[in-house]
């Protein structure tokens, strides 16, 4: 039996999880809600993260517009995505939720604006 100690990062409660694996069967304890269970299993099989960053914006109140991936993307794609996001420039006005990049680098996940400007 495999045993892993994890901290759930889905919400700020930060539950201390214990994930055990027996015959391809995952069992999670220590989670206060079902999302912790899903996280525990996913973290050991296909870890993903939401990426939040900024893009250049012209004609806005600020120089940077905050953006995020609408869903979590595979962890190992993060730096490649960051590199691509670096090359993007948008023009104000932008509304919160507007799609900035569709299907970011084939992840199937859109990059969206995280504020209006």
């Amino acid at each position: 039996m495999e045993k892993h100690q994890l901290v759930c990062i889905v919400c700020p409660m930060g539950c201390h999880l214990e994930v055990t694996k027996e015959n391809d069967e995952y069992n999670v304890t220590g989670n206060k809600c079902p999302r912790g269970k899903a996280y525990g299993m996913k973290e050991l099989t296909n870890p993903t993260r939401v990426v939040t960053t900024t893009v250049k914006i012209k004609g806005g109140l600020l120089n940077r517009l905050s953006v995020k991936t609408k869903e979590a993307i595979p962890k190992e794609k993060m730096f490649e995505c960051m590199k691509f996001i670096d090359s993007i420039e948008v023009k104000a006005p932008v509304s919160v939720g507007d799609i900035i990049v569709k299907d970011l680098l084939g992840t199937g996940v859109d990059l969206v604006a995280a504020r209006s400007m």
Binding site: I9, C11, G14, H16, T54, S66, M82, R115
Partner: protein
């Protein structure tokens, strides 16, 4: 100028308080904000994790702020930007200034203080040595990188493991900088455990607990730093020095509630929180002056700020409508074993709506404890806690029915070992 309620500070605390006051029947409200836009610190906190309690979804700081800003505007609540409150004088007269209206005297029926907090700086922790460029507080760096579009450095060491420092470790890494280490004086981190995991461990950034900064090298720009391990008395242990070649040092060494205005107005402050002493209605020691958010005590989660601020807004409205009983019998809260502070400091059960929420921080890292609430020594609630840390705010809900007590009662919260 005259308003029923004036809110000082347009961060999440001020916004939620103003909205809630309006929802409770007060129309004539003004929010004063010194920055160029509403939203407070949240506008620079572009990471996600906000709003899970309030909106049941995971938002970034600006998204969370925008929901409240939109609601405030839709409700037609007045606000002034680029306007600084200088002073609160007698009879709730606010002195404020901006470049359009000049100096203003604003008479308020009630005031809600929501000025937030600021970061402790290099001066506050007395770092010796010369003053090269490249030393920033983590929050300042956050603002530069996330809003203004300036990268602050390429090789970074972070002093202090508060959440802002941890989040900046990830942010700088994603932006292509190399974060060499995070050094924390205490034997535990001041940040949320989830942030240690997703901001440091994800990127293999080492965290050195019980370590401090010995030296900053460089004259014009930071060229390196030396950190060393400390003993139990927080004295550096000779021979444990680690040298880093870096161009940037970020300080994440704590936040202090911004209470110059409160102090000058004669509001009583709690030396532990550095925020005003408040009662169950979030009213300070001056009648009709309420406070909420980080100005009262440093919150690690904005959801708690929102909940607390709603309470302040609602009670300020009640105050305007003369629905608060000022002379109701009063209990004091008192932190017991293991607890550093409790907010609110005073409780008048007659003014409690449904439940009383006590917020507190523990003084150390604990495992498997019971959190016990007593009124005059009589236990009224016991909660099991698997994991407690100073970086994670705790709260206890007490039902109004359980609050029956005589005048001058003492409500204590303390930690007891499981099974003791």
């Amino acid at each position: 100028m005259k308003y029923d309620i004036v809110v000082v500070g347009g961060g999440p605390a001020g916004l939620a308080a103003a909205i809630e006051a309006k929802k409770n029947g007060v129309d004539n409200i003004l929010v004063i904000e010194r920055d160029r836009e509403l939203g407070g610190i949240l506008q620079q906190c572009i990471h996600n994790g906000f709003g899970l309690h309030v909106f049941k979804e995971e938002l970034t700081g600006p998204e969370y702020a925008e929901k409240f800003i939109t609601e405030l505007k839709n409700m037609g609540i007045e606000y002034k930007l680029d306007t600084m409150v200088l002073e609160i004088g007698e009879e709730r007269v606010i002195h404020a200034i901006n470049t359009v209206d000049g100096f203003m005297r604003i008479k308020a029926g009630a005031i809600i203080l929501s000025m937030g907090c600021r970061e402790r700086t290099r001066g506050a922790i007395s770092i010796p040595g010369s003053r090269p460029a490249g030393v920033f507080t983590a929050g300042t760096a956050q603002r530069f990188v996330n809003m203004e579009g300036y990268m602050v450095g390429k090789r970074v060491v972070i002093l202090g493991s508060g959440d802002i420092g941890l989040i900046m470790a990830r942010r700088m890494t994603l932006e292509g900088a190399k974060v060499l280490a995070v050094a924390e004086l205490m034997p535990f981190s001041g940040g949320l455990t989830r942030n240690i995991v997703q901001c440091l461990e994800d990127y293999h950034i080492p965290l050195y607990l019980s370590h401090t900064l010995m030296e900053i090298k460089g004259k014009d720009r930071v060229e390196g730093v030396v950190i060393a391990e400390v003993d139990k008395n927080r004295k550096p242990i000779p021979g444990t020095e680690k040298h880093y070649d870096c161009d940037t040092l970020l300080l994440s060494v704590g936040l202090i509630p911004e209470n110059e205005i409160s102090k000058n107005a004669g509001i009583a402050l709690d030396p532990v929180t550095s925020g005003p002493i408040v009662n169950e209605s979030m009213e300070t020691s001056i009648e009709g002056v309420f406070a909420c958010g980080n100005v009262v005590h440093v919150h690690d989660l904005v959801d708690f700020v929102t909940a607390e601020s709603k309470r302040a807004g609602k009670n300020a409205a009640k105050y305007i409508k003369k629905e608060i009983k000022a002379d109701a019998k009063t209990a004091k809260t008192k932190p017991g074993e293991g607890i550093r502070y409790i907010v609110p400091h005073m409780v008048r059960p007659e003014n409690v709506d449904g439940t009383l929420d006590l917020f507190m921080r523990v003084d150390n890292v604990y495992k498997d404890m019971n959190m016990v609430v007593k009124i005059d020594g009589k236990e009224i609630k016991r909660m099991k806690k698997k994991h407690l840390a100073p970086g994670e705010m705790e709260s206890v809900k007490i039902k109004k029915e359980d609050l029956g007590f005589k005048e001058d009662a003492v409500i204590t919260v303390q930690l007891e070992k499981e099974g003791a």
